[in-house]
């Protein structure tokens, strides 16, 4: 039972972390909470649903199309709703972001209808693994503790998530565009003066974040096999909380925050089943707690208010 919960929490936490990375990158550069990020995640899930289940494309192609489509949407959102507000007060961009979020959700309702749809998963991802042959877990499965049922998906989700974040870290810390990103997050005006095309780097940031969100959306749709237009709202909020918890602006922090949030959620419900109604409240309580105790998060740098 504990092993089961451990893998559930690991998978959920890795997905939260993957979404949180997108929030943290955009916030680190623009100081903008990209409310629409959770809805890009939703779009990614829908695209893969339509590509593979509705139009019967092979999974690899469907995944590629979904990520391409969601990335494009992320770029469009930045171009249309955020770029005109670069010089405006930060709150204006935030209100615009809330507007975009509601727009995408309702676009989902209009285009995909509000009905949740079931995702049919490929067999090879859901057949339980022959755990007993691999690891001697009998000591955990004795009688009342119950049997561990592990599907390959439960292992693939965290593995893929960590690989993607590793790639992202490589881009941000070892390549030229990554250097530009880090420079912008320090001082946008000076970076512009250095001849960096700031708008393009910001667009790249949105593209990377959206691609990761789409990946997360696809894996989410496989793990909890259904899609609906509002599926991005709660994971989006929670991932943002994870980003704040880990220290906004820090990519490893976002991942750690996501994992902590995943474990808190799964384990609290596992050990205190009567609290399951409050499950969604845990994340918000965690957020308020960290904001009061250490507003910069676990790995965050101190950001001084400029006067």
């Amino acid at each position: 039972m504990f092993v089961q919960n451990f893998f559930n929490a690991l998978g959920l936490g890795a997905l939260y972390g993957l979404i949180a990375v997108g929030y943290t990158m955009v916030y680190g550069i623009l100081r903008l909470i990209n409310f629409a990020h959770g809805d890009i995640f939703m779009l990614g899930a829908y695209f893969v649903f339509f590509a593979t289940i509705q139009y019967k494309l092979p999974w690899a192609l469907g995944v590629a199309l979904a990520i391409g489509g969601a990335t494009l949407c992320g770029l469009l959102v930045d171009r249309i709703a955020y770029r005109p507000l670069r010089g405006a007060p930060r709150i204006s961009a935030l209100i615009s972001a809330i507007g975009v979020s509601f727009f995408l959700q309702n676009l989902g309702v209009v285009v995909f209808t509000g009905m949740p749809r079931a995702v049919i998963r490929p067999r090879e991802l859901t057949n339980p693994l022959p755990i007993k042959d691999i690891i001697p877990l009998e000591f955990l499965q004795a009688g009342r503790i119950g049997e561990v049922r592990l599907i390959p998906l439960a292992i693939w989700v965290p593995v893929v998530s960590f690989l993607l974040v590793a790639v992202l870290l490589w881009i941000v810390y070892k390549t030229k565009p990554g250097l530009a990103m880090r420079a912008i997050s320090r001082d946008i005006e000076t970076t512009r003066l250095m001849g960096v095309s700031v708008d393009r780097v910001i667009a790249l940031t949105f593209a990377l974040g959206s691609a990761l969100a789409a990946f997360a959306g696809i894996m989410w749709a496989l793990r909890y096999p259904r899609v609906e237009p509002f599926m991005g709202v709660i994971p989006g909020f929670k991932a943002f909380i994870a980003a704040v918890f880990g220290g906004i602006g820090s990519i490893p922090g976002a991942m750690i925050g996501g994992l902590i949030l995943g474990f808190v959620e799964i384990m609290s419900v596992a050990f205190f089943p009567h609290l399951s109604g409050y499950r969604d409240a845990f994340a918000f309580i965690l957020l308020i707690f960290i904001l009061l105790v250490k507003p910069t998060g676990l790995l965050g740098e101190r950001m001084e208010e400029k006067i």
């Binding site: 100081r31 903008l32 909470i33 709703a81 005109p84 507000l85 405006a88 930060r90 709150i91 204006s92 935030l94 209100i95 615009s96 809330i98 507007g99 975009v100 509601f102 727009f103 959700q105 309702n106 676009l107 989902g108 309702v109 209009v110 209808t113 509000g114 237009p229 909020f237 943002f240 909380i241 704040v244 109604g277 409050y278 969604d280 409240a281 918000f284 309580i285 957020l287 308020i288 904001l291 009061l292 507003p295 208010e305 006067i307």
Partner: protein, 351 residues
Amino acid sequence: MSNGTRNAILNFLAVGGFVYFLWWAPENLDGYKLRIINLIAINAILGLSLNLVYGMTGMFSLGHAGFMAIGAYVSALLVLTPGQKATMWILEPMVPWLLNLHAPFLISLVLGGAAAAFVGCLIALPVLRLGGDYLGIATLGFAEVIRILIANLIPITNGSLGLKGIPAHTDLWMSYGCLGAVLFFMVRLMNSNFGNVLRAVRDDEVAAKTMGIDTFKIRVLAFTIGCFGGGLGGALLGNLLTTIDPRMFMFIQTFNILMIVVVGGLGSMTGTIMGSVFVTTMLEWLRITESPMTIGSLRIPGIPGMRMLIFSLLLIAVIIFRSQGIMGTREFSWNWFFGDWGDGRKAKGAR
């Protein structure tokens, strides 16, 4: 005729005309229209209270729906009769001390507002140390926690089943009476020294601190007053719609009020009222896009979700192309209406 006399006559005519309208409307308009007119007043109250917090003091709060929920539940639990309460709690029995608690409508309104203000004050003490968008996220988090608590505290709130059969106490006189009272209070507040202090805190907190203003205390006070408005609006809303449940107070509710404030113009009270008229009627009018219609021989099926789609596009358009809203930070006055901007404009030209 001097401007002063003209303005006095116009004020008298406007107020008189409006009172006549309130007297005329219940006899001559159908229930649906009356409900919209009521909603305009309630939304205006909610907008004014959010405007005090955000437009006038500069605190970006996204928690209004939570305070509305508190106000609505407190008021509803007080006006429901013990007989009604005894039959409503199906899942779990109600806590006994609440069963016989009963209060008249007006007192329940005040208590609803006061409960929201109390919770708001408790939340404000830790949260207002944060600034900017962190404050927005934290208040949003609190609103969500309030909503989840309401959905789970079944012995007190009847959980997700909600409360039904609340007597429909809110009528035009009630809602516009409350709006009038709130408006009167706000105008007096903003024209007082306290109003100046609020604006100082909004425009430059550091400068305000240097002038010896205890900015934290001022912000907590303004936030608490705003929460009272939120609770009052929620209480009126519950008594208008006669049923409330936790799903009513999701983030979308805050979004609608935010829209009213942004469309009307941040920091303008008359703007907020215009925003309320515009947004409330727009939200109702856009319902036609979700119901099937026939134009000539062409039959267009209703498209669910279209209403909020158009509405959110509108918000994005307003914030990109006219971020000052209808009124900006100005207030409506007859002088402004008739286009004599007085010396202000001439002075600008001369400079």
